[in-house]
């Protein structure tokens, strides 16, 4: 048997915290053959990024390899110093980082940054470097590479920046590329194009790829083999197709069930809520011809939302889907009364919110509540869980202290937060727990409408599935109306009854979810549906 390109053997990495070393990966072993794509899949905290960092010798300062070996072409590089690593980084192993916006130097041109890797590895001829840079930028599919080379990172979109980083990674034709969540920060359609590009480059040059991702759908589409990690331990390793068809470990089975993109095909779509029996007059949300302009430089108008109309019947869920810049956030801010639309009508439970000001607007907020995308920034770090949830009741002077406490405790119980957590501050909670607190805060006033602005996007798939389940139960119990904003069509399919698809501020499609999925009318919706990861493997499984 030939030696694999990369073989990781019993790797254990520990981080130093308060004078002690705490182990985060335990005896992780896997190998990557030349030209193969291996995906490391797991939730946050599973040790997948730590493993990838160890392979390229970029562990944080407080991390160290406790034991185990990392063999690159048979040579153990686990205990190499930084200097020795410099010689192989870029040439033999390279990295595509996670966040394209913070991974490029804002004060240097794209050309200079791509040229730097050539210069570091010994190229001295300026003209040759410039020519090679243009060639690389063209290779990764950037239009007008001469222009791009002269531009600065802020002049490029997120997807273009990720292409630049890929150009840097492939510059010296390395044998192994480590792609650490290369597309998590990007919109779905851009994500697909970037993954296609990595695939294509791999086929052309025979480079192996170690793909780190939390999205089993992405792994299913792109990887030859999948390594599933949980809590720093390997749960399962196997060929992608085999693992997806018949997962052996309980955790892999759960991941597979929780991934919305993979389960959508197998699980029956959301059972329709008796929307049909509710008369149209019972619309909880009515938006008509909504237009929202922003003034730029005091004069120029930018139309963020252009003539959007939809109606949501009480007790149902309406989803607003679109990529960043599509106007979905502006729309929901107008709906909850934080923004003032330029024209159009918004009516919530029969109240026209444009007419509301001052205290009337404050009283109106009891009817509609917003849950934010990021549960880390939407909770006051100085409040306890209990006081966060109690605050809306105090604002409206409802109930006395004892009755308030009963209500808050009952609700916290309902959203699944154990009693022990009630006096904690948000810092001491996990992302999923924080989002449960935010949901409890939104529900404590018994609103009629809850707006969920990307409320599950920041969560791991397993937690995401739990929160979606909770939202569904709460809707049925309380007859809530949801306005669900998301870029993720797979999730939308799971929770929504109706959907509006936005593109550049315009509504390109609206209708019942099942119909939109089965028979999309606009090419953009078609593209969005095709971009959902995890579909290729489905055809095969």
């Amino acid at each position: 048997m030939s030696t694999p390109l990369l073989s990781v053997e019993n790797l254990s990495v520990a981080y130093k915290e308060a004078e002690r070393y705490a182990r985060v990966t335990h005896d992780v072993s896997f190998s990557v053959e030349p030209g193969e794509v291996v995906a490391l899949v797991g939730e946050s905290g599973s040790g997948k990024t730590t493993t990838a960092q160890a392979v390229i010798g970029l562990l944080p300062e407080n991390g160290r390899i406790e034991h185990g070996a990392i063999r690159l072409n048979g040579e153990d590089i686990a205990h190499w110093t930084g200097k020795r690593f410099d010689a192989i980084r870029g040439r033999q192993i390279s990295l595509i980082p996670q966040d394209p916006t913070s991974s490029l130097n804002p004060v240097k041109t794209i050309g200079a940054q791509v040229g730097e890797i050539l210069r570091i590895h010994g190229e001295r001829d300026g003209k040759a470097i410039a020519a090679r840079v243009i060639e690389l930028l063209a290779r990764v599919g950037l239009s007008d590479p001469e222009l791009r080379a002269r531009q600065y990172p802020h002049e490029l979109s997120g997807g273009m920046k990720q292409r630049v980083l890929i150009a840097i990674a492939i510059a010296l034709k390395p044998q192994l590329i480590i792609a650490d969540e290369p597309t998590s920060a990007l919109d779905v359609t851009v994500q697909r194009r970037i993954l296609d590009l990595i695939d294509e480059l791999r086929r052309d040059t025979g480079t192996a790829v170690l793909l780190v991702t939390h999205d089993l759908g992405v792994a299913a589409d792109r990887a030859d083999r999948i390594v599933v990690l949980q809590g720093g331990r390997i749960q399962e390793t196997g060929a992608a197709r085999q693992l997806l068809a018949a997962p052996q470990s309980a955790y892999a089975r759960q991941l597979l069930a929780d991934a919305p993109s993979l389960s959508a095909g197998t699980r029956a779509a959301r059972s329709p809520y008796p929307a049909a029996v509710i008369p149209a007059s019972e619309d909880a949300i009515l938006v008509e011809n909504l237009v929202h302009d922003f003034q730029i430089d005091g004069r120029k108008n930018f139309r963020a939302v252009d003539d959007i109309s939809f109606a949501v019947r009480r007790g149902t869920t309406h989803a607003i889907v679109g990529e960043s810049g599509s106007g979905k956030t502006t729309t929901v801010r107008d709906v909850v009364g934080f923004g003032r639309p330029t024209s159009g009508r918004i009516s919530i439970a029969g109240t026209d919110i444009a007419s509301l000001k001052g205290d009337a607007l404050r009283q109106f907020r009891q009817k509609i509540q917003l849950v934010y995308q990021n549960p880390f920034s939407s909770l006051d770090p100085r409040q306890t869980v209990f006081s966060i949830v109690e605050e809306p009741l105090r604002n409206f002077g409802r109930l006395d202290a004892a009755a308030r406490a009963d209500k808050v405790n009952a609700l916290l119980e309902r959203v699944g937060l154990p009693e022990a957590l009630r006096q904690r501050r948000p810092r001491a909670l996990s992302g999923g727990q924080r989002q449960r607190v935010a949901i409890a805060r939104a529900l404590v006033l018994d609103p009629e409408v809850v707006v969920l602005d990307e409320a599950v996007s920041a969560l791991d798939v397993t937690v995401q599935a739990q929160i979606l389940k909770l939202l569904d139960e709460l809707q049925r119990e309380r007859g809530l109306t949801y306005l669900f904003v998301s870029h993720d069509l797979a999730v939308v399919r799971q929770i929504s009854d109706t959907v509006s698809v936005l593109q550049n501020g315009r509504q390109v499609e609206t209708g019942p979810v099942a119909e939109v999925f089965r028979n999309p009318q606009s090419p953009y919706t078609r593209e969005l549906i095709d971009a959902i990861p995890g579909q290729r493997s489905h055809a095969n499984v």
Partner: protein, 290 residues
């Protein structure tokens, strides 16, 4: 192929296994910070219970004992009227500390309130308040203090108020910048969204989350205020003689600097130590905030 990790060692051994957690915690504290807190605590004790530290009267002189060099009886010597210098420093602490405390309180309360409202209301109010603050900042501190004292009249409290007013501008600027940062955060918007009124959100969310660096500045200003009050005392704008205020002690000792060096040196060193300690504590507070 399926491989599953098997070892169950969660935590590896720390390198030097010091058993006592208290000792470990103490090791993390910097000695200079402990010293700084010690000095401030001692000076506060001077102010609270001066008779514990000295049996001499700080105001009544003994003519026969005048201008004695430091000795076992008078550990810091005596002044021209035969008063024990150590006793005067101990009894003077209460004047310097209350002065500094009042000054910081005035600056903190007035400045933070101005900054809080400027940052939270925004628009014209913010512009107006911040331009007034700019004007305050453009006047040299000492000149501003002297002008205010001339308007209010001499005395310890008036000197303290004058020092406080000069620090209003700094507090207002810092608290406004913090408030602007916090106001934009999602939890503040969420608080409005759940029906909070302007004042309740300001009080429950914006103020507590903006205060950390403001408190660090307050500790820094405490040192500065002691220095400023001593300056005013030295120039004769503070407490009148025979009050043993530290600045006044230095001023009185100045006349005898060639024959009795201890009269200026000792109170001067005390002022320096207290100011440095306040700065060190402020630095630590700022770090905690970050």
């Amino acid at each position: 192929m399926t491989s599953i990790g098997s070892t169950d060692i969660l935590v590896s051994k720390p390198r030097n296994a010091a058993g006592n957690p208290l000792l470990q915690r103490l090791r993390g504290v910097s000695p200079s910070l402990v010293l700084a807190w010690g000095i401030i605590a001692l000076v506060v004790l001077f102010a609270v219970a001066p008779s514990l530290f000295t049996s001499f009267n700080p105001v009544q002189g003994v003519p026969a004992e005048k201008l004695k060099a430091p000795s076992l009886i008078h550990i810091l010597g005596t002044d021209a009227l035969g008063r024990d210098l150590f006793a005067r420093i101990v009894y003077g602490a209460v004047h310097s500390l209350t002065g500094a405390f009042v000054a910081v309180l005035v600056g903190l309360v007035v400045g933070t309130t101005l900054g809080l409202f400027a940052g939270a209301v925004g628009g014209l109010v913010e512009e107006a308040v911040m331009r007034v603050v700019d004007v305050l900042l453009s006047i040299p501190g000492l000149l501003l203090m002297l002008s205010i004292i001339i308007l209010l009249g001499f005395g310890t409290v008036n000197a303290a108020i004058a020092v406080g007013i000069t620090s209003v501008a700094g507090f207002a600027r810092l608290s406004r910048s913090e408030v602007v940062r916090v106001r934009r955060s999602e939890y503040v918007e969420a608080a409005f969204g759940s029906g909070g009124t302007f004042l309740s959100v300001l009080w429950r969310h914006v103020l507590p989350n903006s205060l950390t660096s403001v408190l660090a500045l307050a500790a820094l200003q405490f040192g500065g205020a002691i220095l400023a009050i001593s300056t005013l005392g030295f120039l004769g704008y503070g407490a009148p003689p025979p009050t043993p205020e530290w600045g006044l002690l230095i001023a009185e000792g100045r006349n005898y600097i060639s024959t009795a060096w201890w009269l200026t040196t000792a109170p001067g060193l005390v002022v320096v130590l207290v100011v440095l300690s306040a700065n060190r504590i402020s630095q630590a507070l700022g770090k905690v905030g970050r």
